[in-house]
């Protein structure tokens, strides 16, 4: 069962320059929420940004990883309320 730390490391290893904050929000090792900041998102739509992160986990999403809530940000951008 992956930990929040595992998820964070895999995202940061797969997406160059990415920084991820990951929370296991049920504590069960299968529902995670991640905020990922990366230059690689520049010029991509939100759908494309989320796809980049989902691709790290392939078929594990919907399998062992039941949910991965995502928020993607560009390093220069402060999230708007």
């Amino acid at each position: 069962m992956p930990s929040a730390q595992d998820i964070k490391q895999r995202i940061e290893a797969a997406i160059p320059g990415a920084h991820a904050e990951v929370e296991d929000y049920t504590g069960g090792g299968d529902h995670f929420s991640a905020t990922v900041t990366a230059d690689a998102f520049d010029g991509l739509s939100r759908v494309q940004q989320h796809r980049l992160v989902y691709e790290v986990f392939g078929s594990e999403i919907g399998g062992p990883i039941h949910a991965l809530a995502l928020k993607t940000l560009l390093p220069s951008k402060i999230p708007t309320p």
Binding site: R46, V47, H50, R51, I61
Partner: protein, 126 residues
Amino acid sequence: MSTSQFEPLPMSASQPPGAPVSSDESNPIHDAIAGAIAEHKVILFMKGTPEAPACGFSARTVAALQSLDTPFAAVDVLPDPRIRQELTAISDWPTIPQLFVDGELLGGCDIVTEMYESGELAEALR
């Protein structure tokens, strides 16, 4: 809610019992999903129905659409696992719900919620 319309895809009708096994070039579920996406300006693939969502993420997405008074078609992916398989093959998106606007994937629950909160969703649905 009165703003939503639930339209089940004709899955069972497209493959009557005893029908010949479909070959690779004939995929009625794939075609029904692609057709539904093309036909409806706003269509949500979800777990459960707008009246009875079967998942918190689907419920949140429905709530965003309903609070904008957006008419939308909805398809429940739960009755047949092939619906989700074919949908994911079409959209290249692994999770449910999935919201399509004008034939394009707008996003899943996170993106729809983010766009709702920023006011972008109302713009996109206009």
